[in-house]
């Protein structure tokens, strides 16, 4: 019984943390982009703009939920929900910290700890694309459709390189369990050094998977208005934003867990704080890249994914396999 209550509390807490993380990542991005571009960014609502997310949330909820007349009503309404669901679900398997002891029971800081946690994370994140492609299709708008189709091709192409780049970590850790991967890094040292190439490949692919600049072709505003979410307004539009930012937090968490020791760190701070610090640094990297790099050209993006990232990560997997099995 206590386990079930604990599970429900953990699920609610996780969603609350992720939604708060979404709101303040967005504020952080807007303020940082402001500084990168020699302006101030939103700083009027509350001290330093800290209440801006609340103002935005109220605005989004009060806005009218519009739907184009030709749109497919069911698919149009459900598409943003799929995106947000897939983004939230992945976090269920990411361990946020070492197990803690409260009131005589051991509490794992993740919702579930399956033996194939990493694969489950991949399975859920691969479902997120449906929200984008179905939203683009259901809007019955040329730009939305093009955005959705671009997203499909891009995510399918980069998912392969992403999957291959984590194979080396699995081989070194001898497990696909995310907690096991972190504990293996406590024993053998963090995997960023032995897996330096997959680390970079994973970073590039995770920027592409979250449709962030320089890979934001699905919502390229100079050619597609706003891509797949052109027709959306109000909370449904906000749900796409929730999905994008939570995906950002999620892949950052995965990257940190796989290559930078997850919650591990010197003992003067609790493990969960170390995890959040690491994720925060990665999110800063995301924003920094957005402020710095221009958008890819579409054919360049495709040939980069298929002709550079995929072969490189494949060769590194073979090398790691040879190393782990003792051939090298």
């Amino acid at each position: 019984m206590i386990q079930i209550i604990l599970l429900i509390v953990k699920i609610i807490l996780l969603i609350a943390i992720l939604m708060g993380g979404f709101a303040y990542t967005m504020l952080l991005e807007r303020r940082l982009l402001g500084f990168f571009q020699l302006r101030l960014g939103p700083n009027r609502v509350g001290p330093g703009g800290l209440l801006q997310p609340i103002a935005d949330a109220i605005k989004m909820m009060l806005k009218e939920d519009l739907m184009p007349a030709q749109a497919d009503p069911v698919v149009y309404r459900i598409a943003p929900v799929i995106s947000a669901f897939a983004a939230l679900a992945v976090d269920a398997v990411i361990p946020f910290g070492a197990p803690v002891h409260v009131f005589g029971t051991t509490v794992n800081l993740d919702i579930a700890n399956p033996s194939i946690g990493l694969l489950i994370a991949f399975a859920f994140s691969s479902l997120g694309i449906y929200g984008i492609v179905l939203g683009g299709w259901a809007s019955q708008n040329k730009y939305s459709l093009l955005g959705g189709i671009r997203a499909t091709a891009q995510i399918i192409s980069y998912e392969l390189a992403m999957g291959l780049s984590v194979m080396g970590v699995l081989m070194l850790a001898h497990t696909a369990n995310l907690e096991g991967i972190v504990l293996a890094q406590a024993r053998h040292g963090w995997f960023w050094l032995p897996q330096i190439v997959p680390l970079l490949v994973f970073f590039v692919t995770m920027v592409a998977e979250t449709n962030r600049t320089p890979f934001d072709l699905p919502e390229a505003e100079s050619e597609l208005v706003a891509g797949y979410h052109t027709e959306y307004s109000g909370m449904r539009f906000a749900l796409y934003y929730v999905a994008e930012y939570i995906n950002m937090i999620t892949v950052s968490g995965l990257w940190v867990t796989l290559f930078f020791g997850g919650w591990l760190g010197p003992s003067f701070l609790p493990p969960i704080i170390w995890f959040f610090i690491k994720v925060g640094i990665v999110i800063f990297l995301f924003i920094w890249i957005r402020a710095t790099l221009p958008r890819f050209r579409y054919d360049k993006l495709m040939s980069f994914g298929w002709k550079v990232l995929l072969p490189v990560s494949f060769l590194y997997v073979l090398g790691t396999a040879a190393f782990v099995s003792g051939v090298l």
């Binding site: 194939i116 991949f122 691969s126 479902l127 449906y130 492609v133 499909t152 399918i156």
Partner: protein, 191 residues
């Protein structure tokens, strides 16, 4: 057992929906629901890896490609009944599927649905499947790998067949060189 019937009902309803609805994108969505329901059934049978592979490969990759093609082809088209080439094929399909269903129920009823023994612990996990594929079944894995490689090479060859007839000089003559293209762009830019 209640869970099994619930998920099974979802799977069957989605499968019927795939052929029953008119809009191809709706069919694709129902097929995805069917695939996900099957994955849950695998999970209940303690085939963890199979369930996840089902989601990653079928729901996450193959159906995305299906949707890619369907959304491209059906964009802006009116929903209309396509003329049927084979007359009465629906009745044939319905009758045959009912017949197959009856045969399956009879055969499975004789064999019994309960397994002889409980599955060994660790069955269906990543380690177990890895041992099976790379240990005893390695020859089969190799054979399947060769088959897939042949298929993908075949696709490449078939798609290049038209171009292969052109000689290198013809290609060079028909396409403007890079410098010419650059000049053309520059020239076009000046008024």
């Amino acid at each position: 057992m209640f869970g099994f019937y619930l998920v099974g009902l979802v799977a069957v309803a989605a499968a019927v929906g795939v052929v029953a609805v008119r809009q191809p994108v709706h069919s694709a969505i129902l097929l995805i629901i069917n695939i996900l329901a099957l994955a849950v059934l695998y999970l209940m049978l303690s085939a963890e890896f199979l369930a996840v592979a089902q989601v990653i490969v079928y729901a996450g990759a193959i159906m995305v490609l299906f949707l890619f093609v369907i959304t491209l082809l059906t964009a802006g088209k009116e929903e209309q009944e396509a003329p049927e080439i084979l007359s009465g094929q629906r009745w044939w399909a319905g009758g045959l599927s009912v017949a197959i269903g009856i045969v399956l129920i009879l055969v499975l009823g004789q064999a019994g649905t309960r397994p002889e023994a409980a599955p060994a612990p660790g069955l269906g996990t990543l380690q177990d499947l890895g041992q099976a594929l790379w240990g005893n079944g390695f020859l089969y894995l190799l054979a399947v790998g060769m088959m897939l490689l042949t298929a993908s090479l075949g696709v490449l060859v078939l798609n290049r067949a038209v171009r292969a007839n052109r000689t290198a000089e013809e290609v060079r003559a028909s396409a403007p060189s890079e410098e010419e293209a650059r000049k053309a762009v520059k020239g076009g830019g000046t008024p």
